[in-house]
Symmetry: C2
């Protein structure tokens, strides 16, 4: 299991947190995610044999937020 | 049809807007509602023979936000 923290812009409330975690949860290989809208971070635990960071970032963007470099 | 604008604290994004409008839309007698999270206002058009301001305020609070006096 791999852990990665993304810096994410634009999350403002618990609904945003739920939207991001919901999109990540749809991906096979994602075990757990935790979005913190106050800090602007999203921690993800995932199986890197099943999902890559491009897909993780894509899910966050699909929820409507921007991943910072 | 009566129109009233409530001042509402705590809405921060489009999810909040949708949550407030969704709760108001469950009330019989509410014809239309428009929450503006940037201005902190919620406009409601309603039939005052079917629903009162207490119920409207209750729905906004049920969505998780505070109605200011």
């Amino acid at each position: 299991m791999t852990e990665k923290t993304f810096n994410v812009e634009g999350m403002s409330c618990g609904h945003c947190k739920a939207a991001v975690e919901g999109e990540l949860g749809k991906l096979p290989g994602v075990r757990r995610s935790n979005a913190d809208f106050e800090r602007g971070t999203v921690e993800v635990s995932y199986d890197e044999g099943r999902v890559g960071t491009d897909e993780l970032e894509g899910a966050i963007e699909e929820a409507g937020y921007e991943v910072k470099a």
